[in-house]
């Protein structure tokens, strides 16, 4: 009797399971479209710890569609995927997007997630246009379907040193001592470690007198700032994230730590939330980061569209590189005149875009699928806005260096 009862339930369970599977399997089919539209899977962290950053990237991608249409580029349709800030989800979502008919993938903001998506794209022979991911190996493993217009880690570090020298040379104010204050997580410690180790190699005019790591979950930075004060450096170089950048700034003001300047490599110090939270005390910080070129016509269009759609926000790295990734895909599709993978791959290899958004002379991939040099800029916070100081050809203002004392603001 027990067996019969179980068997009856089994049949129902089976039917329900088969029905559910059929629905789940059929869902991707509804997205089918004519081949005149390039279906682009936009794979980003939309939930989880990197959700805000993924959403910022999506804004750049969304703004690209109407702008590129007016520029004569063909239609693109986005299919959205959420990595949930996880590597294995990035892989599964990439599979899902491709199964659902994506002709190309854009993403994924984070190196680990992008590597996972790259595995799938190589397996399926689908182009992956990387918007943001700095790990050098991504374009050094012989991948044939991965294309990246973003500086690698060594490019970012190298440009940080070069732009500092240019800044000191242009202003005539050179710090002799620097304290390096960095968040003690994988990102912060690796970047700070590279900066510390390479300072002598780049023959910098200063000495790093103190290297101060801090807890990534810390809220009170009085001890760290006191260490900075005790070291009496001319300038402070930081590798931070958002909340710590805000707290450190407030603590520097509270302890009246007067410096020649604050340099930042990495996020935090240029973010909208930082500028709002710190007000005039966030001014004069110099960010050494990948950025956009305001003098390019495409950038002006993007900035105008961004200002209209998000009047309370300032455009940053995330939107600009995501915009360029969409531009790269649209440009390849326009020239390929086909959604066929090999045609897109060939077109991507022959990419030669000069009217893009990000810094540099344009977008051309080498045989590895990497833009050989994506310059980074020196961007100063001023009056709640960003002023590009370097490179010279993209500059929108002169530097304020040394920075103004706290009490004179």
């Amino acid at each position: 009797m027990n067996t019969r009862r179980a068997s009856a339930v089994n049949r129902r369970t089976l039917l329900a399971g088969v029905g559910a599977s059929a629905v789940a399997a059929a869902v991707p089919l509804r997205r089918g479209l004519a081949a005149s539209t390039l279906k682009v899977g936009v794979l980003l962290p939309r939930s989880g710890p990197q959700a805000q950053l993924g959403i910022e990237c999506q804004i750049g991608a969304d703004l690209a569609l109407p702008i590129l249409k007016t520029e004569g580029y063909p239609d693109l349709e986005f299919m959205l995927g959420d990595t949930e800030t996880k590597v294995d989800v990035a892989r599964a979502q990439c599979e899902k997007l491709i199964d659902a008919g994506a002709h190309a993938i854009i993403g994924c903001f984070d190196s680990g997630q992008t590597m996972a998506a790259a595995q799938v794209c190589e397996q399926k022979n689908v182009p992956l246009v990387v918007n943001i991911a700095a790990v050098p190996k991504l374009t050094e493993l012989g991948y044939k379907w991965v294309f990246r217009n973003f500086p690698t880690g060594p490019m970012i570090v190298g440009d940080a040193f070069k732009n500092q020298k240019r800044l000191f040379g242009a202003t005539g104010a050179t710090p002799k001592t620097v304290a390096l204050l960095h968040v003690n997580d994988t990102f912060g410690s690796s970047l700070a470690g590279a900066l510390f180790a390479l300072t002598p190699k780049f023959k910098m005019p200063y000495k790093i007198v103190e290297k101060i790591p801090y807890d990534p979950y810390g809220r009170d930075f009085s001890a760290e700032v006191r260490k900075v004060k005790a070291a009496k450096p001319d300038a402070l170089w930081t590798v931070s994230r958002l909340n710590d950048a805000i707290a450190i700034t407030k603590e520097l003001v509270r302890q009246r730590v007067e410096l020649m300047g604050i340099l930042s490599t990495g996020p935090g110090w240029y973010d909208n939330a930082y500028l709002k939270a710190t007000g005039k005390f966030g001014d004069d910080v110099v960010n050494l980061i990948p950025w956009y070129d305001e003098n390019k016509p495409m950038t002006q269009k993007l900035k105008a569209a961004f200002a209209k759609a998000h009047p309370d926000l300032l455009m940053t790295t995330n939107q600009s590189f995501s915009f360029d990734a969409v531009l790269i895909a649209a440009d390849a599709f326009k020239r390929a005149e086909s959604t066929k993978n090999t045609a897109l791959q060939t077109a991507l290899r022959q990419t030669d875009i000069t009217n893009n958004v990000t810094l540099g002379k344009g977008i051309r991939f080498n045989e590895k699928g990497q833009v050989p040099y994506v310059p980074c800029g020196a961007v100063q916070n001023r009056g709640g806005k960003h002023v590009v100081l370097l490179p010279q050809e993209a500059a929108t203002g002169k530097p304020i260096w040394p920075m103004r004392p706290w009490r004179e603001r």
């Binding site: 959420d82 599979e95 595995q119």
Partner: protein
Amino acid sequence: MIRPGDLVRPLSPAGVWLGALVLLVLLLLPYWGGSYVMTVATTVFYLALVGQSWNLMLGFAGLLSIGHALFVGIGAYTSAYLFTAIGLPPVIGVLPAIALAVLMGLLMGYLGFRFAIGGVYFALLTIAFAELVRIVIDHVSWLGATEGFFLQVSEADRHGIDLVNLRGAPEMYYYLIMALALGALVLCRYLLRSRLGYYWQAIRDDESAAEALGVDVLRYKMYAVAISSGMAGVAGVFYAFYQNSLFPEIVFNIERSIEATLGSIVGGVGTLFGPIFGTFILTPLGEIVTEAIDLLKHWHVIDPETKLDGLKLLVWSFIVVLIVLFKPNGLWPWVCEKLRLIRPGEER
């Protein structure tokens, strides 16, 4: 020794039929599911394998670990490094990977048990070890440090079957991890029915009483840690050659450790099939929520422009909370009872 009949004997006739049907569906999954479903199923079996190893420690021996990603990571890095540096195929590299994972487990276990660190404090010790190893690897340049460690994959490697070098089509990885997860189930059943298993259960239920009865508590706890960490090490080898990229912050992240526990908690801690069942509930549940949201948007029940990113996690978490609240012993024992899948007196 385990005889084939031993695996089926605990099942009722209904259990046998349902089990056979599920197995058939899973075996044919690459033919009906497509690559996305297969990727999700591969993840499910991988988590089930790690969950089974975690369950062996907590469910069988009463040792709470929240740092199981440590053993997975050690297995992953060891096999990947040996493959890259000296060309040692993973089929052999799995042995040093297991050895190192076990060694780390024994070191951690000895420190913990020798100094009578138990319960939550032992769990903290496991987290501390995982963090310690992560920080060490963050600074080891020949393991890629924070920049990550990568395995080269050629075009030819992405097709066919090469079980020696763990290179091949996604189907190969799917069947391999399925076999490993089911192998872990068989091993756990064998262990649970052995003298070792009975000692573990005695220690889990009342350590002092077990000791008073002559059970060498330290030794048998060490056995539990060793076997569990070895199993997780095997999972790590699979992870390395499936993902082909290892980042310390991702591999050793506490989130990975917690992921390993969730399937077992939902399925039923201490049960044999609970970790697999729980993972099969949890992972697809998230995907079903995503699909349901997509369908609601498609049918315009929800405005298609509405951004609902993260809702999946919210719904998923809510359902997990409900399961834990109303079925604290896990879903598998309840399902077994309702469907009478297991013969009375047999382990679930």
